[in-house]
């Protein structure tokens, strides 16, 4: 089946998310759609999947124009989509999820789950997925859930599969497996649109590449293009992906975490006897696939989560049982992994967000009263210093782009007197320009003799920033290694194989 998107334009108010985009997909082809966060890739795919209607342009299948009013139409036409956030129902079994909306029924009208199981088994065996049809989704690892999503599409006879940022949640090994699966699918005649911002993956599997920037197709480079060529096409200028760092001049052991155990509400040890020490002037990166206890670790250090056993010390002071305010006052800065949820108040202005943790006293407050003049002055200074691109300090935080929102958080945290900076996913969903800037700021903090912990699931980021790397797996630290460790070895550690 051949798919063609012809001159698609989609506007949201004054913003043109897709500007006259055209692309074609031949049968059995893997076509990568490369672009930064916010470039318009997801909008284009939602248009293709019938979730959005294009303002202009046409979708053609086998040269016939089609019109999708909803996902049902797109599916009926043979288009399957694996969303970035899986569309699976956690309490249902694999078989139930696969047949949902398209259920086989027995003679008396009951649900024929045996047929559903067979279907799952058949597809699963054909591509070597190893999925148990009766497993509940909530008990499956993320990689397996993704394969269930693929089975779901194939069960509906999808001839075209759209994979939206499929590797974000996978270990390097799982990513390799997915690449293998994609090649297998393509060989069997399924065409794939692969949406990503990761250059290495694009180089590995693509038959064809389309680069989108600010809603426009900017280039169709060859699959053998180098990473830096692809990066500069994606960003629109030369990008230096390497952060320059001075050699480490380490000082005192400022952050000491000893045998830390943190439980979730079902008594799972999300952080399981973790110990590490970070010195002044050094960056410890905590690597690992999402969901291995990193979030809980960061929240425990800040005092947001109850510590079951073990201890946390900052500059010799025991903070194990401290409140968040005490931890902040002890000199800890914290960049949360989800800025919209935990880092900012979207409906507050930038100036207000910049003083969120400073409402207790100077310089922002005098007694019970906010010092508005000081607030505005500091806001203007920080906007300047941290290159926050905004019309004014009174703009609401939610109106900023992801990168600028993150700069607000970084500015707030780094503008205090810090001893330790804990940054969780500091550049998730941020444009490349902002990534470079934030990385420079983190390294500057380290060079100024601060103790820095970054938690990141992006191996590139870990390798760019870390002096030492601790890899977390199922709540435990698999090992702490130096920054010259190979990608391959780190990948194995992320899968729980100790060095």
């Amino acid at each position: 089946m051949k798919l063609e998107l012809r001159n698609i334009t989609k506007r949201f108010g004054t913003l043109t998310a897709n500007d006259n985009i055209s692309l074609t997909l031949e049968p059995g082809e893997i076509h990568s759609l490369l672009g930064e966060n916010g470039a318009g890739k997801s909008t284009l795919m939602n248009v293709l999947y019938g979730l959005l209607q294009p303002d202009e342009g046409q979708i053609l299948i086998d040269d016939q124009p089609v019109n999708f009013n909803g996902p049902g139409d797109a599916m009926a036409a043979g288009i399957g989509m694996v969303h970035q956030h899986f569309m699976l129902i956690p309490v249902f079994t694999v078989a139930e999820n696969v047949v949902l909306g398209n259920e086989p029924t027995s003679k008396i009208g009951g649900l024929d789950l045996d047929k559903a199981r067979e279907l799952v088994k058949e597809i699963s065996d054909r591509f070597g997925f190893e999925i148990d049809p009766d497993a509940k989704i909530q008990d499956l690892p993320v990689g397996a859930q993704q394969r269930v999503e693929i089975i779901k599409s194939l069960a509906r006879n999808a001839k075209i599969l759209v994979l939206d940022e499929p590797t974000a949640v996978l270990t390097p090994q799982e990513t390799d497996e997915l690449m293998e699966i994609m090649r297998g699918l393509a060989k069997s005649g399924t065409s794939i649109i692969f949406i990503t911002h990761k250059l290495r993956e694009v180089q590995q599997v693509s038959n064809r590449i389309t680069v989108i920037r600010q809603g426009k197709v900017v280039a169709s480079p060859l699959p053998k293009s180098s990473a830096s060529e692809l990066a500069s096409l994606m960003v629109g200028r030369e990008v230096d992906l390497n952060v320059t760092r001075k050699p480490v001049k380490v000082g005192a052991e400022t952050l000491v975490v000893k045998d830390l155990t943190v439980l979730d509400d079902r008594q799972h040890q999300m952080v399981d006897g973790v110990s590490f020490t970070v010195r002044d002037g050094e960056v410890l990166a905590i690597a690992g696939v999402q969901g291995n206890g990193q979030t809980e670790l960061a929240e425990a250090i800040l005092g947001l989560r109850k510590i079951h056993s073990g201890s946390i010390e900052v500059a010799g002071r025991d903070l194990t049982k401290s409140t968040v305010r005490e931890v902040l006052e002890a000199g800890l800065g914290y960049i949360p992994e989800d800025r919209k949820k935990d880092g900012l108040v979207g409906d507050f202005t930038i100036a207000e967000n910049l003083m969120l943790d400073g409402s207790f006293g100077a310089p922002f407050a005098k007694g019970f009263q906010i010092d508005f003049a000081a607030r505005d002055r500091i806001a203007d200074e920080l906007i300047e210093e941290f290159d926050i691109r905004t019309p004014s300090a009174t703009t609401l935080a939610k109106q900023l782009s992801g990168g600028n929102q993150q700069k607000v958080v970084v500015a707030r945290e780094l503008s205090r007197e810090l001893k330790v900076l804990v940054a969780s996913q500091p550049t998730r969903g941020v444009d490349v320009g902002s990534i470079e800037f934030i990385h420079e700021q983190i390294i500057a903090a380290r060079d100024a003799g601060k103790t820095v912990v970054i938690i990141s699931t992006e191996l590139d980021e870990v390798l760019a920033l870390a002096d030492r790397i601790a890899v977390m797996y199922r709540g435990k630290i698999v090992g702490i290694v130096d920054s010259k460790t190979t990608r391959e070895k780190l990948g194995k550690m992320m899968a729980g194989i100790a060095a």
Binding site: Y49, M87, T105, L111, Q267, A495
Partner: protein, 426 residues
């Protein structure tokens, strides 16, 4: 290719310390039974009457010394408690069925203690059949709750739906002289009320709790007004429907005890017998149910596989309202025989609690509703056999039993994930 997989669910679990909550509650309950109903109980005999005089097969009444009976029951309860302690020490849970048996034992001891010396004894058929009849509005209201919450709409308006059903069935039943017409009218009226809830909640995204509360207040106001301004003027022509005739099912109704309790009832009870299992079957064994549950758990996921979320929610809530309307009819033409002001008396809210207690599952919800039905009849009956005892205190006992039972349930109660959340198509 070796598969190495990572999931939050695969973190090692901390060995949980055995909780003694359940066994200690059981132990204390058993001791209370032995002490207060046994040793400090009432001297004299109690008889458990198992047969109605009209029945073909008569079972002999079981007469026993009250203190002895309660002590023996108490000792059995003590053994169960001991077993439960033994299991807890070995970090095992007490099985739910055992807790159920325990609860039944406590009830029997309570009944025996109350009826000591009473001439009529413990009339099991009277108690059980009234439990069933009084539970019908709760069960059907509960089904309405299950049907709407399973698709993700919180239905606080069950109270209003019951009251609507009660009012309309009485009035239409009287005016047409046909109770079946009254019953159907009740279902339609409550269904229409549900459509208001459904369309405001689904289409206009109004906060569901607020609409529910407003509908309740509205229905109370309207029915009160119509009752005093209209029905009271000529109640024999407007509010005197009477009740359905009891239908004794041939053969089945001759079974000792159960026959009289289950198979000699009004149509409303039999409809409940049909609705509950059918709803269970549809929810868990058909594609309709699978889709409904998907909508209630993860509407976006349901939408992406082509299920119409708004339509699914609308019809499930509406049909649920019709079932609640039938429950309202059971209050009037299924039991009392006329409409009284605010006669639903908070049963719609109890139905909400029953839905949670029954974990959004029709069969469990029915059992939970029966427990509440039992407390209603217990209040009436205790006053008859044992005048002067603090009835309010006695009616507390079944709730205490419920608490123990709920504590004994393994795991957490988890509502449908999208319950109460509007689905906004983006």
């Amino acid at each position: 290719m070796s598969k190495i997989e990572v999931t939050p669910g695969m973190f090692s679990k901390l060995e949980s310390k055995p909780t003694l909550k359940t066994p200690i509650t059981l132990l204390l309950s058993a001791l209370v039974v032995i002490a207060f109903f046994g040793f400090l109980g009432k001297p004299g005999d109690v008889s458990f009457v198992w047969s109605d005089k009209r029945e073909a097969i008569q079972l002999p009444a079981f007469t026993v010394n009250s203190m002895l009976f309660c002590t023996v029951v108490g000792v059995v309860l003590l053994l169960i408690a001991a077993f439960s302690i033994y299991r807890s020490v070995h970090a095992k849970k007490t099985p739910v069925w055992l807790i159920a048996i325990f609860g039944f034992g406590v009830m029997m001891a309570l009944l025996g203690w109350l009826a000591t010396g009473a001439v009529q004894g413990v009339q099991m058929i009277f108690i059980l059949s009234n439990t069933l009849v009084l539970a019908i509005p709760l069960i059907l209201g509960g089904m309405a709750g299950v049907m709407s919450e399973r698709v993700g709409v919180v239905n606080i308006a069950i109270e209003g739906q019951l009251l609507t059903g009660a009012f309309v069935s009485a009035v239409v039943g009287t005016m047409t002289g046909n109770l079946y017409v009254g019953m159907v009218a009740a279902m339609v009226a409550a269904g229409v009320l549900s459509m208001v809830l459904a369309s405001l909640a689904i289409k206009y995204l109004v906060e569901q709790i607020i609409i529910g509360v407003l509908l309740n207040v509205l229905v109370i106001g309207i029915t009160n007004f119509l009752h005093s301004a209209w029905l009271d003027n000529d109640s024999s022509h407007l509010n005197y429907p009477g009740t359905f005739d009891k239908i004794a099912l041939p053969l089945l109704s001759d079974i000792p005890v159960l026959g009289q309790v289950l198979f000699n009832n009004r149509i409303t009870v039999y409809l409940m017998f049909i609705i509950v299992p059918v709803l269970w079957f549809i929810l868990f064994r058909t594609k309709l149910g699978l889709r409904a549950r998907a909508v209630g758990e993860h509407p976006l996921a349901a939408d992406t596989v082509g299920i119409n979320v708004a339509k699914t929610r609308f019809w499930w809530v509406t049909l649920g309202g019709m079932v609640a309307g039938l429950g309202g009819a059971a209050l009037t033409i299924g039991n009392v025989g006329s409409f009284g002001r605010e006669m639903s008396a908070g049963q719609g809210f109890i139905a909400l609690a029953v839905v949670i207690l029954g974990r959004w599952q029709p069969i469990y919800v029915t059992l939970a509703a029966l427990l509440f039905g039992f407390t209603i009849i217990l209040r009436v009956w205790a006053n008859q056999v044992s005048p002067g005892i603090p009835v309010d205190f006695i009616t507390m006992v079944p709730y205490l039993v419920t608490l123990v039972a709920v504590a004994g349930f393994a795991g957490k109660v988890r509502p449908p994930a999208a319950s109460g959340q509007p689905y906004i198509k983006g």
